[in-house]
Symmetry: C2
Subunit: 212 residues, 2 copies
DNA sequence: TTCACGCTGTGATTCGTTTCACAAAGACTA
DNA sequence: TAGTCTTTGTGAAACGAATCACAGCGTGAA
């Protein structure tokens, strides 16, 4: 019913609105929010419709009220606890970033199969041996998982997470991961994204410089 | 003419095909490639059309030949050199990953405004003070940039990169960045992706466990 | 009080992508 | 040789999302 892409844009609008709130701005028009979010005014209005909030044709949207409405829409349920699997280069960067993130989506546990990396606390997040995955996910009621393990381990890790009750996955491994139909999975394939950028960069500057 | 999404999927097919090649598989059918790539057989056939390669109705596609055709299609131009700006947590993870990546898209320079992080070589990549950005990008002929700086610095960094000749950008900062129309930009907003996953996870398991 | 203005909310439309469905073709069988 | 089987390549149809376009409305000006 509600589209993937609308949810993504609402998340962007929310961040922009919070920035505006910090800057003391009280009202905003759809075209202004659109410009700051990289989309069109019509799209903003359509997306805002989904949250049920209604603006005023004269003042536009109330910044605080709209931010609140989007927050309520996006984070309606109780806080969604997150588990990270794979405390490697990428996993550690994600952990370092997590305190700056949305407190409604807290990172509460991390797992690794390397004994040297576990049984400590990094940026407020407990690190466990991967053997305890099911136990911790179940006891903490974790519903969201982040896969930052090598490709070869991704499918099996996903299977374990889903069995333990995870229903949303963010996958950084550059491989397709099968999950049960009730689980939502989002793939963030950085290599693929870079290849895409390189491809279009090649199209846009195809001729060598006249370099003589 | 060629769609964004087709390029993305071709990149995935290519990786799957290289894995098959390593495993000694000589031929593959569209439905098989589709299953391993997370899409449909019809989509595979459509996408393959774009590269100009033609399979056999009996044997399917020749793994090596198709991988080659996709590679040629995606990486037709000379190697696309890449510059990274922002040697923080995320930047360092990307540098650590780069040797494992496509050699047609080499990471050749990194920049930071923190003097403590520059004037050394990390994973084979030279780190420069950000003041030398224009000079290095121009002299090396770099056409692709990765933004791993804080949001506040993203727009200005993008502007400098584009002025220096970059025509493709990969942006990790959670902010909208304006670029000239001839520049291709791809945003990888990890926070947004996680909020999306959390949202759909909340929808799929909305009720608290009957936990008594 | 009337009018003009600019913006929101939304039905209708357009656009791009995915999926369907089938003709064409090689290989194997008898 | 004729027939069957499986898969490709691709027009055509279906689908979903973005965009258009405008009615409706509150405001401020005259
Ligand atoms: N680092 C990057 O910038 C980057 C970029 C693109 C994609 N990726 C992908 O992200 C994933 C992680 O990348 P990375 O650079 O952090 O790799 P890494 O090798 O630094 O870290 C992987 C971690 O996973 C752990 N691990 C391995 N098998 C495991 C298992 N079965 N269970 C639990 N933990 C296990 C390892 O001990 C290690 O700590 C990889 O799939 C990689 O392809 C990373
Ligand atoms: N770390 C993550 O997992 C993560 C996740 C999501 C998004 N991001 C985004 O990626 C970006 C980088 O994240 P990070 O965790 O690496 O942050 P970080 O603070 O660890 O690193 C930022 C780096 O950029 C450098 N820098 C700051 N201003 C600069 C400038 N004007 N020119 C050049 N260099 C400059 C800093 O010296 C620092 O080394 C941020 O925008 C962040 O929001 C990071």
């Amino acid at each position: 019913m509600i589209s993937d892409k609308t949810v993504a844009r609402l998340s962007v609008y929310r961040r922009v609105l919070l920035d505006m709130q910090d800057a003391g701005q009280a009202h905003v028009f759809s075209h202004e929010l659109a410009a700051r979010s990289g989309c069109t005014a019509a799209q903003v209005r359509r997306d805002v419709m989904a949250t049920g909030y209604t603006g005023s044709p004269v003042r536009g949207y109330d910044v605080t009220a709209l931010a609140g409405s989007i927050s309520e829409f996006l984070f309606h349920s109780e806080a969604q606890k997150v588990a990270l699997v794979g405390i490697g280069n990428l996993g550690r960067a994600l952990m370092a970033f997590s305190p700056r993130r949305n407190p409604r989506i807290p990172l509460v546990a991390a797992f690794d199969n390397d004994p040297a990396k576990v049984n400590r606390v990094i940026h407020g997040c407990r690190c466990y041996p991967v053997q305890q995955l099911e136990e911790v996910v179940e006891s903490e009621g974790i519903r969201v998982g982040i896969l930052a393990v090598p490709s070869a381990a991704a499918q099996d890790t996903a299977r374990r997470l889903c069995r333990a009750g995870v229903v949303g996955l963010l996958n950084f491994a550059p491989t397709h991961v099968w999950v049960p139909p009730h689980v939502y999975i989002e793939n963030l394939d950085l290599s693929m994204a870079l290849e895409k950028v390189a491809f279009f960069a090649g199209l846009r500057a195809p001729q060598k410089e006249i370099s003589l």
